[in-house]
């Protein structure tokens, strides 16, 4: 096609051919970018190993879903939509931006395949993409500068606001969009002034607007605009590329890798060190994360990838009650520390202990491992494993809060955190009705099913009722079951999560041995923490089911029939226990069990299913004395009240402890009730 304006590749200023710049800018930009990335990779090379090349098909699927389809973005609707527009705009425009760089060297360059109709379609699309991106940037800037959503705020102790960086980058993106379209529009305007029919210009795009604006601009000015906007684009493009690895916009580059390498299995904790089997753990010199390089390379990549969007902390129950933990700043502080220790220029700094430097002890012990942060993160950043690794490091150094030392020592000696005597573990069975018998594997009984009771249900006066209800329900459903009695030890779910790995290994080995020796062919538990540990942390056990799954099957088969709710003033809501829901994807079964009770009125809380709000934590978390402004449980019962419920049904003894306490603390006794699922079923069962 005939062109009116001289292309940058052929233009000279003061006798200097600009093609030189077209060559120099990409070379310098690419070289600098490569240098920066090499520096950024250095700590990853020094970091601990991580096994992230398994389950490749699932990983590819994750990239397709979370990265390409932006699956989790719309969970925050406004920000999500803006992000999706910018993301797809970027993807579309990446081809155009690359070809523009080459056009600076060769005027007529087009990517192979984009010469014909496909090219026309692409040009049409990319013009709308650029326009949409600019509009999205304007919205984003408005949100950042004027609306200021609370989750972007930076509390004082974490440093200064990040708004300036965000706005600066939005400015860069807008500059790219405006210069790209101005470059093209100047040529089109000149052609149209000369009466040459140009390409079709998509209406209401940036190019279309520019062309309109340029319609009476003198040709020589258009020539200047054409050249100037080209180099503005070229410079901005390479500046932006090199600026990305300097802060939160590194995610533009790293997120695809981070999502590919993100965790594929749920509910488990990483090994102490990848590649070191459990029986070789004694040979390790140090345990857990003490300094930066003790993190795995994926966890350092997490730090780089954090986009500072604040969704994790917005969902974090510890953050919500004022505990000194905000997952977002676990990442941001980690990233800033890497940047400081691995400067782009000069020597790398020696690594120092992280606790007492960027992280505080209470910050790390504050996490209930509920998993809300990881569930929310749009780009697969992990927190639980980091918390556990940091705790492992503290445990290894003897740095454990006094409030946790007693229960840990009791677990070691007695197999339960209260230090109760082993022989009393089955005492809860004493008060069962005559027609309900619980077989005792430790007394030589045999049964097909093993009911794993776990510590709190065995020993806590109130929670023993869950044990009795579970036994009643199993008996009513005709299940042949027994318990391990004094041979059972705590499942150790929290022992592992509180960093006492070797104690967990001992407990696991003991329980595995007695479970296998029992001869049971399946395991049932009513404790989601035990369910999680046995299912995801132990190996070689018979299949494990949660009581809600068993009840639902028995309801469907007709083995269990339920009578109607009598009191019609009761409005029920189901609280998802973290270790049943988020960590094991059991959301529907408990709800279906509830809905099978005739006449039940059930409402959902706003935060439910994978956005459930942790009750305050189970296992050893019951013993930890956190700094906090209020209890998570209190917030949760208030949420139940707001949903219009007056009965909270949960399926976890720890949730029940926390809910019942919270009801008292909140002064809602008599107005709100908490009950466990098996207890409710036991009450409604037709015998």
């Amino acid at each position: 096609m005939e062109t009116v304006l001289i292309a940058p590749a052929n233009y000279s200023v003061l006798g200097i051919p600009l093609i030189l710049f077209s060559l120099l800018i990409p070379i310098a930009g690419t070289a600098l970018f490569t240098y920066i990335i090499a520096k950024r990779l250095a700590p990853l090379v020094k970091a601990a190993p991580d096994n992230r090349l398994n389950n490749i098909p699932q990983r590819i699927l994750q990239v397709a879903k979370l990265w390409l389809a932006q699956w989790r973005q719309p969970r925050y609707r406004t920000a999500g939509i803006i992000h999706i527009v910018i993301f797809f705009g970027f993807l579309t425009l990446s081809i155009r931006s690359c070809s523009l760089v080459i056009i600076g060297l060769s005027e007529d360059f087009v990517f192979p395949g984009l010469g014909g109709t496909l090219g026309n379609i692409y040009n049409f699309l990319k013009d709308y993409a650029a326009t949409a991106v600019l509009v999205a940037c304007a919205f984003a800037a408005y949100r950042r500068a004027i609306v200021k959503p609370a989750r972007y705020a930076v509390p004082k102790k974490y440093g200064h606001e990040h708004t300036a960086e965000a706005l600066f980058v939005l400015g860069l993106i807008s500059t790219l969009m405006l210069s790209e379209s101005a470059f093209e529009a100047a040529q089109l305007a000149a052609q149209s002034q000369k009466g040459i029919a140009g390409d079709f210009v998509a209406p209401l795009t940036l190019v279309w607007f520019w062309k309109l604006i340029f319609s009476n601009t003198p040709i020589e000015n258009l020539q200047a605009i054409h050249i100037l906007s080209y180099y503005i684009h070229d410079l901005t493009f390479f500046f932006f590329l090199c600026f990305l690895p300097m802060g939160k916009h590194f995610h533009v580059i790293t997120s695809i890798f981070n999502v590919f390498f993100m965790r594929v299995k749920k509910g488990n904790i990483k090994p102490v060190r990848h590649g070191v089997p459990d029986d070789k753990l004694d040979e390790l010199e140090s345990f857990g994360v003490k300094k930066m390089e003790d993190f795995t390379w994926k966890h350092l990549l997490d730090f780089y990838t954090c986009a500072d969007c604040g969704r994790c902390s917005d969902q974090c129950p510890a953050n919500a009650v004022g505990r000194p933990l905000s997952p977002r700043f676990i990442s941001i502080k980690g990233r800033d520390k890497i940047f400081k220790n691995y400067p782009l220029r000069g020597d790398f700094l020696p690594s120092e202990p992280l606790i007492g430097d960027i992280y505080e002890e209470d910050e790390i012990w504050s996490c209930t491992t509920c998993g809300a942060c990881e569930q929310e993160c749009p780009i697969g950043i992990e927190y639980i494993d980091k918390m556990v690794d940091l705790r492992r490091g503290m445990v290894d150094d003897g740095n454990v809060p006094q409030s946790l030392q007693k229960p840990l020592s009791a677990l070691e000696k007695r197999g339960n955190p209260w230090g109760k005597m082993e022989k009393k573990r089955a005492e809860w069975t004493n008060d069962l009705p005559e027609n309900v018998t619980v077989k005792m594997f430790d007394a030589g009984d045999t049964a097909e099913t093993l009911y794993f009771v776990d510590s709190i249900t065995s020993f806590d006066d109130r929670m023993q009722n869950i044990g009795r209800a579970t036994a009643n329900v199993l008996a009513a459903a005709g299940v042949d079951f027994g318990i391990l009695g004094k041979d059972e030890k705590d499942s150790g779910n929290e022992v592992r999560r509180f960093g006492e790995e070797m104690l967990f290994q001992d407990i696991k080995a003991h329980n595995t041995e007695v479970i296998l020796a029992s001869g049971a062919t399946r395991i049932i538990t009513a404790d989601p923490h035990a369910f999680n540990a046995l299912k995801n942390e132990y190996e070689g056990l018979p299949p494990v089911e949660h009581i809600s799954q068993v009840i639902l099957k028995k309801i469907r088969s007709g083995a269990i029939r339920l009578k109607p709710i009598e009191d019609d003033s009761r409005i029920y809501t189901y609280h998802d226990p973290c270790y049943l829901g988020r960590h094991n994807d059991l959301y529907e079964e408990p709800r279906e069990v509830l809905d099978a009770i005739p006449g039940i009125r059930r409402v959902e809380m706003t935060k439910s299913r994978d956005r459930s709000f942790c009750c305050g934590g189970g296992g050893l978390m019951l013993f930890y004395e956190p700094e906090e402004e209020q209890r998570m449980g209190v917030l949760r019962v208030e949420m139940a009240k707001a949903a219009g419920a007056n009965v909270i049904v949960t399926a976890c003894p720890f949730c029940l402890v926390n809910m019942e306490d919270a009801i008292k603390v909140a002064g809602m006794e008599g107005k709100m009730e908490a009950i466990e699922l098996a207890e409710l079923v036991d009450r409604q069962i037709i015998r």
Partner: protein, 263 residues
């Protein structure tokens, strides 16, 4: 600074059910679990902190049977450098003075600047520290809740006295201190730590190694003899208030007013 800490293995009293044996000479020990006497654990932590700050080494010592080795290992896992087990049939049945005599023997075999004991033991009488100091003829401070090293000749120690008051003393080294709980926050000892020191050799010394006359210690030398163990009968005088929280509070206030506790 070379520090010796005397520790004891005691039944864990938290959730153990302590019942007296039928013959009244001991408690039933079948279902008990044991741990380091809590006060001693604070003493070891204090010793480790002093050594971390000033250099030197910490040695833990206990008088006991073969099972007592586990508490030495636990304290070594915590950071004590050496352990010594004092075991001899001749030591069995020692009274407080007998134990102090045995400990004197081990102190004189080494060269210690400072000797720490727990202020008391769960199953003890709180007498060994003072007796040991007297036998060694060195100064003694009891119920110590802070230790500051002034130089290699002197310490500044704080003692808790009645009514929550604090007393500060200067004490000359070598000396014996009995340590109160709460002086520090003892570090956690995990399974891994214990395993690391599982194969460290712990010397076992008997009466002859310490140059002790077997007749001066143990049952033979004991001037205090255990006569009986029993659970006292529940007396009258305790009253459980019943009713709702408000009712209980009201009754309690009435009672306190009636007895002059509230004016």
């Amino acid at each position: 600074m070379e520090i010796l800490v005397c520790v004891k293995r005691v039944p864990d009293t938290a959730e153990n059910e302590i019942t007296v044996r039928k013959d009244g000479k001991d408690i039933v020990r079948d279902d008990l679990v044991y741990s380091v006497n809590e006060w001693d654990n604070y003493a070891v932590e204090e010793a480790i902190q002093i050594v971390e700050d000033k250099g030197g080494s910490v040695t833990v010592v206990t008088v006991g049977d073969g099972d007592s080795e586990e508490v030495l290992r636990r304290e070594m896992a915590m950071g004590a450098d050496n352990g010594i087990l004092l075991k001899d049939d001749a030591f069995v049945g020692s009274d407080g003075k007998g134990i102090a005599t045995v400990l004197k023997g081990v102190v004189q075999k080494g060269k210690y600047d400072l000797i720490l004991c727990g202020a008391q033991a769960d199953d003890g009488a709180g007498q060994v520290g003072g007796m040991l100091a007297a036998l060694l003829d060195v100064p003694y401070a009891s119920l110590v809740n802070s230790v500051k090293v002034i130089d290699d000749k002197k310490l500044k120690v704080g003692r808790e006295i009645e009514g929550g008051n604090q007393e500060m003393n200067e004490i000359t080294l070598p000396c014996v201190l009995s340590i109160q709980t709460g002086i520090n926050e003892p570090r956690y000892v995990g399974i891994r730590g214990i395993r690391k020191v599982a194969s460290v050799e712990i010397p076992v010394l008997g009466a002859s190694d310490l140059g002790l006359d077997a007749g001066a210690v143990g049952k033979a030398g004991a001037k205090v003899k255990l006569v009986d163990y029993f659970v006292p009968e529940l007396g009258a005088g305790a009253e459980m208030l019943e009713g709702s929280t408000e009712e209980i509070t009201e009754k309690l206030i009435e009672l306190l007013k009636a007895k002059g506790g509230l004016k």
